[in-house]
């Protein structure tokens, strides 16, 4: 990933958290932090990316992430194009590489890519000359989600180091879980993963996490409870017997939450399935739930990532 060295963030693309160093992450979080305040002002517009073209290329449906990236780009002054591919071009026989080459010929500066296959964004990044941000690839990584989670935790707790974080739910299919595991480990937090054995990938402990199948023991004494979204199509007997049983064993409710530290924060990458993985009362607990704050941090973090990567683009002048 590393290309030319530059102050702050020495990478040409942001394809994943794995492989980043603590200063890389701190740099992005600090920069994002500065945007949080600005985003709360009436005039939210900066011109760091003026003249730049950002293309959001989403092969998999997403409203929240693409909106967040769109807003981030626009607030920095970029021209933002949204392309929802949704297999339409693919069904016409165009391959991912063809799509990448076509877009590349239009000279975008930043490509924000989401794809349903693990590794697809990496593959695409090799074929284009612009900066690429991974907005989620299969079950591999979703780096900006992990960064926004980290920013949320850091702003609430002052630091990431030493925090005990429990990630609960469908770890097997979750790119959010993988990116968070990498980031939290890099920054010195302690990570537990909680879920049924059917939703736990093999050898996940080798990624440096403590594995719990009993949610109660897993939540004991944690600082942060990070819930994952359960895809409905994975229920009904395929991985767990029923929604009812899943909520009974792994849904976050007051009783289970009581085992965590009294001031434990509740997080969720959204969109939530209320009553499946999280109880409404818990999700809306204004003292502990930081779910809406995560969304706010998302825009700031994506602005930081866009800005950090544009430092490496050719012809970069003293734009700011």
């Amino acid at each position: 990933m590393t290309d030319s060295a530059s102050p702050g963030f020495p990478h040409r693309h942001l394809l994943g958290i794995e492989g980043l160093q603590p200063p890389d992450i701190t740099y992005l979080l600090d920069l994002a932090d500065s945007y949080v305040e600005q985003n709360r002002q009436v005039d939210k517009k900066k011109s760091v990316l003026r003249g730049r073209t950002q293309v959001n290329l989403f092969f998999e449906a997403s409203t929240r992430t693409s909106t967040s990236f769109e807003l981030a780009g626009k607030r920095l002054g970029a021209d933002v194009i949204n392309m929802a591919v949704q297999r339409s071009s693919v069904s016409k026989g165009e391959t991912l590489i063809d799509t990448a080459m076509t877009l590349n010929a239009m000279h975008p500066d930043v490509l924000v890519v989401r794809h349903q296959d693990s590794g697809a964004v990496q593959l695409l990044a090799r074929k284009v000359s612009c900066a690429v941000i991974n907005a989620g690839d299969g079950a591999h990584e979703h780096p900006t989600q992990a960064l926004l989670d980290a920013l949320t935790i850091r702003r609430r707790r002052g630091r990431l180091e030493g925090q005990i974080v429990a990630i609960c739910g469908d770890i097997l299919h979750s790119r959010v879980a993988r990116s968070n595991i990498h980031l939290l480990n890099i920054m010195g937090a302690r990570v537990r993963v909680i879920g049924p054995p059917t939703l736990m990938p093999r050898a996940i402990d080798e990624l440096g996490v403590e594995v719990h199948h009993d949610m109660r023991s897993g939540l004991e004494g944690v600082d942060i409870v990070m819930m994952l979204r359960l895809q409905m199509e994975r229920m009904q007997g395929a991985y767990v017997p029923s929604l009812r049983e899943y909520f009974h064993l792994y849904g976050l409710d007051q009783a289970k939450l009581a085992l965590a530290k009294p001031d434990a924060l509740i997080m969720h990458p959204g969109p939530m399935n209320r009553g499946v993985e999280i109880d409404s009362l818990v999700a809306d607990d204004i003292n502990r739930s930081v779910i809406r704050e995560q969304v706010e941090m998302g825009v700031a973090v994506r602005m930081a990532c866009l800005e950090a990567l544009t430092h490496h683009l050719p012809n970069v002048g003293p734009a700011q």
């Binding site: 991912l96 794809h115 296959d117 693990s118 590794g119 299969g138 079950a139 990584e141 993988r178 093999r202």
Partner: protein
């Protein structure tokens, strides 16, 4: 065999191969010496042959002291004819095979249409006869259209020339169908070869299940998917008395199962491909689709277990596992990319890594690619250096270093996981039925 534009094809022609290191794993022969061919056959060989000079009228070839072994027999290669000629044809596959020292190519039936009836066997044999520079013998499907449901006409297929039965890269999943196929096959004494992977357990899996798959977010295939098919099949072998062979073993679990069954006297044999002892699952890092093969590359422990199983005889044969894929099938996100690695041109060189790094004897290693497969397939006139046998042999220099360069590959597809890799040991010349089909010096 009719081979267009091949020099020196005259019947009864005498050629003396001098100054060779003769290696014959069938007899354990390892000696400096010479070999004489008359037409298609080996007439004589030994350390004292031509000690008093070569009579006039005999063409001579100086082997430069290099190793002369029986021609390699590759029991598992996909050739795209019919149906996928853009990936590999008999012409391209056979030149690739010749460059890899392979003189007999046993091709898989998972073509389009599949080799599941006698007419297709005959078609394949004719195409091969007209286009191939090495000997090609087809395997036929176990089940019609490779669907795993109804048995093929094994008797007619054998009469047409099928040397063994397999559903190629598909497992026969139904125990009932497998039992009947094994049972019926005993009429003909041919091997029934299983692709050991339980399809329901492997389903969406694209690589070995474990830490690497977890990190890459790729769906895994557990080693149990391989071992359990073999365990089940061995029950059926005990029931039927058939000759059963596992095409490519990749996992320590499977090896243990086969080792135990052999000790109990069951008629089970198995093969493996060079990538299972040269590479492990880490080759998949960075989503390298050229390392996507079936069965998948396993852990380092599995790799070492494969090497030990070759050494102790649990694994009987080494095959190329040749599965050519074009760029369009591989330049895709990992989960969508096709399985398979080109293997003909690197089989011997990669296998020689066991000689260089794991203390294998040359004959011990060559047995897995010559007399081993010849015995399993009943190819009595091949796989050995013997007066009266077919003049199929391979001349190679086990110490010659080279670097894998796909641009120099003779096969149509370049999907090797070894691109750019330095290897030690290289084929110099390949002779089939007394005819030189590859000569590195002249790049034939």
């Amino acid at each position: 065999m009719k081979r267009p534009a091949n020099p020196g094809a005259e019947k009864g022609k005498l050629v003396a191969y001098l100054n060779a290191r003769l290696l014959d794993p069938a007899t354990g022969l390892d000696t400096p010496g010479a070999l004489l061919t008359v037409g298609e056959q080996i007439a004589d060989l030994g350390p004292r042959l031509f000690a008093d000079g070569v009579p006039s009228g005999v063409e001579t070839v100086d082997c430069g002291g290099h190793c002369l072994s029986p021609g390699l027999i590759d029991m598992h290669a996909f050739v795209g004819e019919p149906g996928a000629e853009h990936k590999e044809s008999f012409a391209s596959a056979s030149h690739a095979a010749a460059a890899g020292g392979i003189t007999t190519l046993i091709c898989l039936p998972n073509t389009d249409p599949p080799i599941d009836e006698a007419a297709i066997v005959e078609y394949v044999e004719r195409r091969a006869r007209e286009n191939s520079v090495v000997r090609v013998q087809p395997m036929a499907a176990i089940t019609k259209a490779l669907k795993g449901e109804e048995m093929t006409e094994m008797g007619l297929l054998v009469e047409a020339g099928a040397v063994a039965f397999t559903d190629g890269d598909r497992a026969v999943a139904s125990a009932r169908v497998m039992r009947r196929a094994l049972s019926y096959s005993t009429l003909f004494g041919k091997l029934v070869i299983q692709h050991a992977e339980d399809p329901s357990l492997a389903r969406d899996g694209v690589m070995n299940e474990g830490e690497v798959a977890t990190r890459l977010g790729l769906a895994g295939i557990p080693t149990a998917a391989e071992a359990m098919v073999v365990e089940r099949d061995l029950r059926l072998v005990a029931l039927t008395g058939a000759r059963y062979h596992v095409s490519q073993v990749s996992a320590a679990d499977t090896i243990e199962v086969i080792r135990t069954a052999k000790a109990r006297g069951l008629k089970v044999t198995c093969g493996t491909a060079p990538h299972y002892f040269m590479l492990n699952e880490n080759a998949v890092n960075d989503y390298r689709t050229f390392a996507k093969v079936s069965p998948p590359l396993r852990s380092e422990d599995d790799r070492l277990a494969v090497i030990e199983a070759i050494r102790d005889g649990t694994i009987d044969v080494i095959v190329s596992g040749h599965m050519p894929q074009d760029v369009e099938s591989k330049r895709l996100p990992f989960a969508q990319a096709a399985f398979g690695a080109a293997g003909l041109e690197t089989m011997l060189s990669v296998a020689l890594s066991l000689y260089h790094s794991y203390d294998f004897g040359l004959n011990q290693l060559l047995a897995k690619m010559t007399c081993g497969p010849a015995r399993l397939l009943g190819l009595n006139s091949r796989g050995a250096l013997r007066a009266g046998a077919k003049a199929d042999f391979t001349l190679f220099d086990p110490e010659k270093p080279w670097r894998v360069d796909v641009d120099k590959f003779k096969g149509k597809s370049k999907n090797t996981p070894y691109e750019g890799l330095p290897l030690t040991g290289r084929v110099l010349m390949t002779v089939v039925d007394g005819l030189k089909v590859y000569d590195r010096n002249i790049g034939a």
